[in-house]
């Protein structure tokens, strides 16, 4: 079995209210060195081993169609174990 980690993030330049609020809180706590905070979502998929090329294509399709919103989000896929 292999586990894929999908890291989904808001596209640069688009509003990220959670990130802005958290940045403000970090600054209030004295962590002035932080420039920006970006929130994202992590999704793990467990898949059987093998079929690498086909799997890659299908996972990309899963991200585009459902897991992420391509209008406002980018994503990366990594094998973690």
């Amino acid at each position: 079995m292999k586990r894929l980690r999908i890291d989904i993030r808001r596209k640069e330049g688009l509003s990220d209210p959670e990130g802005v609020a958290t940045l403000r809180a970090l600054h209030d706590l004295g962590y002035a060195e932080v420039d920006e905070v970006h929130f994202g979502r992590m999704i793990y998929l467990d898949l059987p081993d093998g079929g690498a090329a086909e799997t890659g294509k299908r996972v990309e399709e899963m991200c585009r169609r459902l897991l992420a919103n391509p209008v406002i989000e980018n994503w990366t896929v990594e094998t973690v174990e």
Partner: protein, 234 residues
């Protein structure tokens, strides 16, 4: 005029919408999201709620519910399709309207009446209203902050497809009168054809004097007036 009021698991405004539409003389019917056929309906409403628990993203799972194929066919054929609140989010996820909804600017669930300025009367959302008219409708959402890629925003604004903007009682729309951080104070938009439109506030909750406002009627009347009876199947 038969109107399909679509229910997803987690939808919770279907009865209010159906009641308000019936009061205006339409014939609303509740339709479960597993239905794949909406033939014979003259209009479609995606009401508010939390379809599929809002899991993943608001509207992300509802957009693949079996009924959505029929909604897309109706939208392409010119049938009026109205999204309210969660229905707006679903129409964005489905790509029937541009952009997306994210968390409110102040990270608060907003549940209060807001003012809206009618920007255009060129869609089935506002054709019975007048430009500049100020409406007071309840807003009830956490993800009501509209964002869109710059190119989509330019198209929306230049084509006059922003139907409603958040404002104050005097009709002033700016950051101070913007309840949720929505880009350009956008509260309601339409597609290029004008037959698919949506708004975040709830017109059905402001459709009778006893509810504190009747300003929602003009939105629902616009929708009802836009429907053309489908010819009976031969």
């Amino acid at each position: 005029m038969r109107v399909a009021v679509v229910m997803f698991p987690g939808t919770n405004c279907e009865h209010d919408v159906a009641y308000a539409l019936a009061e205006l003389g339409a014939e609303p019917e509740l339709v479960w999201h597993r239905e794949t056929d909406l033939d014979g309906f003259d209009g479609v409403v995606l009401p508010g709620g939390f379809a599929h628990g809002d899991y993943l993203r608001t509207g992300a799972i509802a957009r693949f519910s079996p009924v959505m194929g029929a909604v897309e066919r109706h939208a392409a054929a010119g049938t009026p399709v109205l999204g309210i609140c969660n229905g707006f989010q679903i129409l964005c996820e489905a790509g029937l309207l541009p952009g997306a909804m994210v968390a409110n600017r102040d990270l608060r669930f907003i549940c209060r009446p807001v003012h809206l300025r009618v920007e255009s009367t060129d869609s089935m959302l506002t054709r019975a209203a007048r430009v500049g008219q100020v409406l007071r409708l309840p807003l009830n959402s956490y993800e009501g902050n509209y964002i869109a890629p710059a190119a989509d925003l330019v198209r929306l604004e230049s084509q006059g497809r922003v139907m409603l903007r958040y404002c104050d009682a005097a009709g002033v729309a700016d950051e101070a009168t913007n309840p949720n951080g929505s880009t350009n104070s956008i509260a309601g938009i339409a597609n290029e054809q004008g037959n698919v439109a949506a708004l975040m506030p709830h017109p059905e909750r402001a459709a009778e004097e006893v509810l504190g406002s009747v300003d929602g009627r003009v939105i629902l009347e616009s929708f009802v007036a836009s429907m053309v009876r489908e010819p009976a199947p031969a």
